[in-house]
């Protein structure tokens, strides 16, 4: 029985293969390309197990086994940066995703393209401002003489000025807000694009049935872009540990160091500035492994739920 099935399966495969010849050829091309440009450089991961020096390169540097990893995971500072990175990454992911979807849907509800187009154009402009400019404006606004303190003071909410950047628990929300501010419009592009692909007759049919705006959003728009949302979500979950470097670096200061330092800042302090490429690589491997694990989990969950998924 089992043998029969197998034979049959093989036969099908062979037939299919011939049919899909052109796809297979292109697949080979893409795999070769990907192997060269993405997988071959992974030889560099060997550095994490060495005491890498420029002079000796990775073929002749001294092997040190897991020393670098042991150093990382015995260092309380590193563990703290994992927590910071993970939490900021999660906050950013949740809020930017929700905000981008909300914005895309609301924008889509504006029917006049004379209003809609300028708003959309405005919305993605901040994407082009570098972080250094955005954080500069943000710290101005939140400084003791900034506009936020002025408003809070004028409406009588606070007596003294709020030193926003010296209060540790405020740091994560500020970073999240900075991301929202800069990227909402840009992130919404892809959802808007998905919304435009929803068949307009569905809305008309719903209208005739007497559905209101909320009903239509709930029953047509959201289901229509569900696959986009899920795929992007899974994908971005892989980036949880890439919560960043620049924002935290530019907004952070000594007083909030314990919550602001991310893995990338740690790598800068301990790896690059100290010429310790090996340590930086070890941290990089850790990030990659965790990212892939998260992706596999999320993808698996989506698969079990019968939803769209990455692969």
């Amino acid at each position: 029985m089992a043998g029969d099935n197998k034979k049959k399966g093989l036969a099908v495969t062979k037939k299919e293969l011939i049919k899909q010849k052109v796809l297979v050829i292109w697949t080979v091309v893409f795999v070769i390309y990907g192997f060269i440009f993405y997988y071959l450089p992974l030889v560099g991961w060997l550095m994490a197990f060495q005491n890498y020096k420029n002079k000796t390169g990775f073929f002749h540097s001294k092997w040190v086994g897991l020393t670098k990893f042991k150093f990382l995971f015995s260092d309380a500072t590193f563990l703290r940066t994992i927590r910071n990175t993970f939490c900021m990454g999660t906050l950013n992911l949740i809020f930017t995703t929700v905000m981008a979807i909300v914005f895309a849907i609301l924008l889509n509800e504006i029917k006049s393209s004379k209003i809609k187009k300028p708003i959309q154009t405005i919305s993605y402009l901040p994407h082009f401002l570098s972080w250094i400019i955005v954080t500069g404006i943000l710290s101005d606004a939140l400084s003791s003489t900034g506009i936020v303190n002025e408003i809070l003071h004028n409406i009588g909410l606070v007596k003294d000025t709020v030193p926003f950047f010296s209060i540790p628990w405020l740091f994560w929300p500020i970073v999240t807000f900075a991301h929202l501010w800069k990227e909402t419009g840009w992130n919404a592009i892809i959802y808007l694009s998905a919304i435009t692909s929803i068949d307009p007759s569905l809305y008309e049919a719903a209208s005739i049935d007497g559905a209101g705006r909320w009903d239509k959003i709930k029953h047509i728009t959201l289901p229509g872009i569900k696959s986009t949302i899920i795929v992007l979500l899974i994908m971005n979950m892989g980036n949880l540990l890439n919560a960043g470097f620049e924002v935290q670096y530019l907004l952070g200061n000594g007083l909030v160091k314990s919550v602001s330092d991310t893995i990338d800042i740690y790598v800068l302090t301990w790896g690059i500035s100290q010429n310790d490429y090996s340590l930086g690589t070890a941290a990089g491997i850790f990030k990659s492994v965790v990212s892939i694990a998260i992706i596999l989990l999320a993808n698996g969950a989506a698969k079990r739920a019968g939803e769209e998924r990455l692969f």
Binding site: N54, T77, S166, N253, L255, W270, Q274
Partner: protein
């Protein structure tokens, strides 16, 4: 703290400052005078610095360079000029290469036109790492911290045969034999030479490019130029002035609240808050540690845990509670800090001169310099009557980096001849003073000077790109030139320096009877190389990395201090917070670091003894 990060970024910043600062300085832009190229270089290796003082090699250099001065008059035809490339492991301003008047003049005299490329958006080690990986080198290179890597990679040409050939007397005489020997690598050969802090003739020492407690000239004037020697007197003066003048006018005449004292803690620049204790105890800038040698064998002392450190931070804590220290000091970024200073309402701070000197231009433009907003350095100590060493006298030889010729250079002979000719007095003058009659004038006594129009020209970026060519990372001298009158670098010309000062600064200098910034500080005048043969210790601690226990401790100490020091200052219960800080500090195992420093200190003393 003096971590390696700090050093790198410092190197980077300082070099940029150097490259541009010399220009702006001689342009008279800095009312406080130009920065001193020599000490810039030292500061780039971590704030440690000394201005020019007698240098053993000076006399020898003098005569050799003089002989050679006239030799370069034969012109090289345009077609025979060779284009060389140069990479500098520090940010810099590119000139309009190939279209620059002085570059062309120098090319005609040397046969070489050098195209300079500078570090951008990377650390030095990353840049050098990628240059090594790419396998293509420029003809000349200053690899900064990456020099060692380049040498180990076999990318550099050994200088020995060229120095010994006798064809390049300027270079051979640039350093004494003992000094050249210090550049030797483990194969016994020389691969690069540092181009800064090399005094020829007499040192002129007009500037203090280093750290000090600074105070606005008008604050001193208001109190009839009192003698301020201690930390307590300093804050007392600030308090009294702020009480009498709660607001000051900004450039547009609007009233602003006075900020009596601010303190920068941003990233690597938090040295502004942390390293004062070593100076307050009267020690020079060894950077990472104090070397105590009073009547005993030199011993490493940690300045972070001394009584003086505690007193200093307690003082800051008290002043913070009184509202004298800026409320935002712990969170301000460098840009905010500079903006604040250029508003003119900050009365004082502790900082390295190069870190804030650009505000002098702002003061000049807005007219605030006439209000006495410019800062004057004070050489404070913790108790009265102590010696201070905020300013160090004497060249500091940094053998860790410098200009090198790479193996990719097709004609090393020409490269060395080019480097050699950089030291010819006429080319040296072309580089730093410019063209006579255009960029400087000569008075009846043979002294070079500049008019305000020339200064304006020279600080115009376009003019600089099209006309001036400093080759700022090629061999150069400080001190005075072969004529025995003029300074090699315009900003070190005393007359040029004093004329460029704002009126309130000139008044202030006169009131104290001083002519230069170092005089104002009144540090002990001693050749630091003679009195502190191990100086500076930072040249070792800067090169620590995480491969040693001491290096790990060093990085952790830096992180801890950065987090705790502002907390301690802002705390409502100083003593308890200080104890917490000390506990966190002890967890970094500073003893690992200190022991390693002691070993290095002993090694250096022994090496000197065997010399």
């Amino acid at each position: 703290m003096k971590s390696k990060t700090v050093k790198k970024i410092l190197t980077v910043t300082m070099s940029a400052v150097l490259a541009t600062g010399m220009l702006a300085g001689c342009g008279g832009g800095a009312s406080a005078g130009g920065d001193d190229a020599g000490s810039s270089a030292a500061a780039s290796d971590d704030g440690g610095s000394s201005d020019a003082a007698a240098d053993d090699s000076a006399a020898a250099d003098d005569s050799a360079a003089a002989d050679d001065g006239a030799a370069a008059d034969t012109e090289v035809a345009e077609g025979d000029i060779v284009d060389f490339t140069f990479f500098g492991g520090m940010p810099g301003t590119e000139i309009n290469s190939g279209n620059n008047e002085i570059q062309d003049l120098i090319a005609k005299k040397t046969g070489v036109r050098l195209k300079e490329t500078w570090l951008t958006g990377q650390t030095v080690s990353e840049a050098i790492g990628s240059i090594i990986a790419s396998g293509t080198y420029p003809d000349l290179i200053d690899g900064g911290d990456g020099c060692q890597d380049l040498y180990e990679e076999g990318a550099l040409v050994a200088w020995d045969e060229y120095l010994e050939s006798g064809k390049y007397p300027n270079l051979s005489n640039y350093y004494t034999k003992a000094e050249w020997d210090q550049f030797r690598q483990d194969d016994g050969k020389i691969y690069w030479c540092n181009v800064f802090q090399n005094t020829k003739g007499e040192p002129t020492g007009t500037t203090h490019n280093d750290e000090a407690f600074w105070v606005q000239a008008r604050v001193l004037a208001w109190d009839n130029y009192p003698k301020i020697e201690t930390l307590d007197e300093y804050f007392d003066l600030l308090e009294r002035y702020a009480a009498a003048n709660p607001t000051v006018k900004d450039a547009n005449g609007n009233e602003m609240d006075v900020i009596p004292y601010t303190c920068l803690c941003d990233d690597w620049r938090y040295f502004c808050i942390e390293n004062a204790p070593q100076f307050l105890d009267g020690y020079p800038n060894d950077g990472s540690v104090i070397v105590d040698f009073d009547g005993k064998d030199p011993t490493i002392v940690d300045y972070n845990t001394t009584e003086t450190a505690k007193k200093y931070f307690k003082k800051l804590n008290e002043e913070y509670a009184k509202g004298i220290v800026d409320k935002d000091f712990g969170t301000q970024k460098y840009d905010d800090y500079i903006a604040k200073l250029s508003n003119g309402n900050v009365l004082g701070m502790c900082d390295q001169y190069w870190d804030f000197m650009q505000i002098n231009d702002s003061f000049r433009n807005t007219g605030l310099e006439n209000e006495g907003c410019n800062y004057v350095p004070l050489g404070l100590t913790i108790d009265k009557g102590m010696e201070n060493r905020w300013h160090t006298y004497g060249d500091t030889l940094n053998v860790a980096s410098g200009i090198a010729v790479t193996t990719d250079c097709a004609d090393p002979d020409l490269a060395f001849s080019f480097l050699d000719k950089m030291l010819d007095q006429d080319i040296h003058n072309l580089r730093f003073w410019g063209v006579e009659g255009v960029d400087y004038l000569v008075d009846d006594d043979g002294l070079f000077y500049r008019t305000p129009e020339i200064r304006a020209n020279i600080s115009d970026p376009k003019y600089r790109a099209d006309h001036l060519c400093f080759y700022s990372y090629l061999p150069q001298y400080g001190g005075t030139s072969d004529d025995g009158k003029n300074a090699n670098l315009p900003e070190e010309q005393p007359s040029e320096f004093f004329d460029g000062l704002a009126k309130p600064l000139q008044d202030c200098f006169s009131a104290y009877g001083v002519k230069t910034y170092p005089d104002m500080i009144g540090s002990v005048k001693e050749d630091v190389n003679a009195t502190h043969p191990w100086f500076p210790m930072w040249s070792y601690s800067n090169n620590l990395d995480t491969s040693t226990e001491g290096g790990i401790a060093w990085t952790k100490m830096g992180e801890t201090k950065h987090e705790w020091l502002p907390k301690v200052v802002m705390s409502s219960n100083f003593d308890a917070e200080w104890d917490n800080y000390m506990k966190a500090y002890a967890d970094c195992k500073p003893e690992d670091f200190l022991n390693q420093m002691q070993e290095e200190l002993d090694r250096r003393i022994e090496a000197k003894a065997n010399e």
